[in-house]
Amino acid sequence: MAYSEKVMEHFANPHNVGEIKDADGVGEVGNPKCGDIMRMYIKVENDTIVDVKFMTFGCGAAIATSSMATDLVKGKKIEDALKLTNKAVMEALDGLPAVKVHCSVLAEQAIKAAVSDYYRRRGIDPTPIVGELEDCEEESCACTL
């Protein structure tokens, strides 16, 4: 298992780390038993994600995918942010080891969870827009979602 240089770059100096106190949406995915938790904060103006930050407990890939995913949605329209796939995150990182693919899925899901929260706070049912968020199973930590 070797990480790409890009992954190590984002791991060593992750972008967008931290909290947004007055966030418009907060999403959290993963669970500590599995060793990965991502929490993402978004600030939205005119349907645009003007700011995004994350807090992550997890492996190198978890931190790097959090960093990359936040980079990729920052400044994007929500509808475009929702098009972010784990594949895109992986590609932007020049790939991930097979056992770490689930981290990119978590990152995708964390963004979606934050957007869902944003809609929910505004009284809008997120499901038709964001889709069902499958939660990582407690049982199998190597969830493939």
Partner: protein, 398 residues
């Protein structure tokens, strides 16, 4: 150790060690002019036979065994498999289908036991309690008239705790049950005497003590006959086939001899370093030492840090030139927390935050100083990124 001007601290000697220059020097002739097959008649081959047998004598001496009780293998895993499967298959015919081991053996033992369970054997996995040590009385209580074998590791690879081997040996002898110990982590680090300690079989591996990877040995007490794991040519007195890895075996002999000669001095130094390391690391908030503080290998210390995930800790340390591991090297890449840490009662979420630092005589105190300098800020940084930390310090369950 410095490399390219960057400080490098290799603190993963429980995973593998560097081949020492003395060992390499002893090996090189066998990759050059002394390439003959030791089973050959002519002089080029014969020249390889003598060093092979000398290496066997050295290994035997270091264990208190006789020379012809030592069989060379490809490493610790092969030795474990051979000993355990061998005894199991041998004694099955006598209705002995029960094996006793512990919950925190190396996978070479645990997975071998699991394979035997599929064949119909029953296995008792003894508790190792919070201090990471098997209780001899519990072992004795587990013995039945069906027990074929007790296999308990000499020292644990992940947390370094040393097991009460002489006591276990005495119990096994009393009950007439064979006793195997995986001493891969212990050999070269603690004094071993297979006769005095009533050990019937013992596995060791070269690369844990500055010999190369891919060579090891199994001690089998004279009189114990088990089926071969590898059948074929007449090497190793017909008990382990395959053209002998002469260079590796010679290297193993030299490494064992060196380890024995320097053990006392080395251990005194490693103990001092270990005390400083443990005291220093335990100053970090919500950190813990895994396993008994005293009954441990002088070169091995394992810690857990709440709110930290082990891999990112290792990667951050690597960026600072510190090579360490979270536990067993064989399972990295796996996402499950260590079975060893779960066996000593840690919760999954705590077990994820483990760090094993293991040292050899090639390390010195400045390595400890360096680790104590770089580790605390890394822990702090990762915790500051963690969505759990806040809850942990405020006592909320996560």
């Amino acid at each position: 150790m410095d490399q390219n001007g960057k400080r490098l601290v290799y603190a993963d000697n429980a995973a593998t060690t560097a081949v020492s220059p003395a060992v390499l020097d002893a090996m090189l002739p066998f990759y050059k002019e002394l390439y003959g097959n030791p089973s050959s008649l002519y002089s080029v081959g014969n020249a390889a036979k003598k060093p092979l047998e000398e290496a066997r004598a050295k290994v035997a001496r270091c264990l208190g065994a006789d020379t012809n009780e030592i069989y060379f293998t490809s490493g610790g895993s092969e030795s474990d498999n051979w000993a355990i499967k061998g005894v199991a298959h041998k004694l099955k015919a006598q209705g002995k289908t029960h094996i006793i081991t512990s919950k925190f053996e190396h996978h070479a033992v645990l997975h071998t036991c699991a394979a035997l369970e599929k064949e119909g054997f029953t296995v008792t996995y003894l508790d190792v309690h919070e201090n990471g040590i098997v209780v001899p009385e519990e072992l004795e209580a587990a013995i039945t008239d069906k027990t074929a074998l007790v296999t308990i590791m000499y020292a644990n690879n992940e947390i370094g705790t040393i097991q009460p081997i002489p006591e276990i040996g005495a119990i096994c002898k009393k009950h007439g049950v064979l006793f195997h110990t995986d001493a891969v982590q212990a050999v070269g680090n603690v004094p071993i005497d297979v006769k005095a300690q009533n050990i019937d079989m013992l596995s060791l591996s070269g690369h844990k003590l500055h010999a190369p990877k891919g060579v090891g040995a199994l001690y089998i007490r004279r009189g114990i006959s088990i089926p071969n794991l590898i059948d074929g040519g007449a090497q190793e007195r017909t008990r382990r086939a395959g053209t002998e890895n002469v260079a590796g075996i010679v290297g193993l002999g030299v490494a064992m001899e060196n380890a024995m000669a320097t053990m006392e001095e080395k251990n005194a130094k490693l103990r001092r370093m270990q005390d400083k390391l443990i005291d220093g690391i335990l100053k970090i908030d919500r950190s813990r030492l895994n396993g008994d503080r005293i009954k441990r290998l002088p070169g091995n210390a394992s810690f857990c840090f709440e709110g930290i995930e082990g891999e990112s800790l290792l990667l951050m340390l690597d960026l600072k030139g510190v090579c360490a591991s979270s536990g067993s090297a064989c399972t990295s890449g796996s996402l499950d927390p260590s079975h060893v840490l779960l066996a000593i009662g840690l919760k999954h979420e705590v077990a994820h935050g483990s760090l094993r630092l293991s040292f050899s005589d090639m390390n010195d105190e400045s390595d400890i100083d360096y680790i104590l300098e770089v580790l605390p800020p890394i822990v702090e940084r990762l915790r500051s990124m963690s969505p759990l930390w806040d809850a942990i310090i405020h006592g909320r369950t996560v």
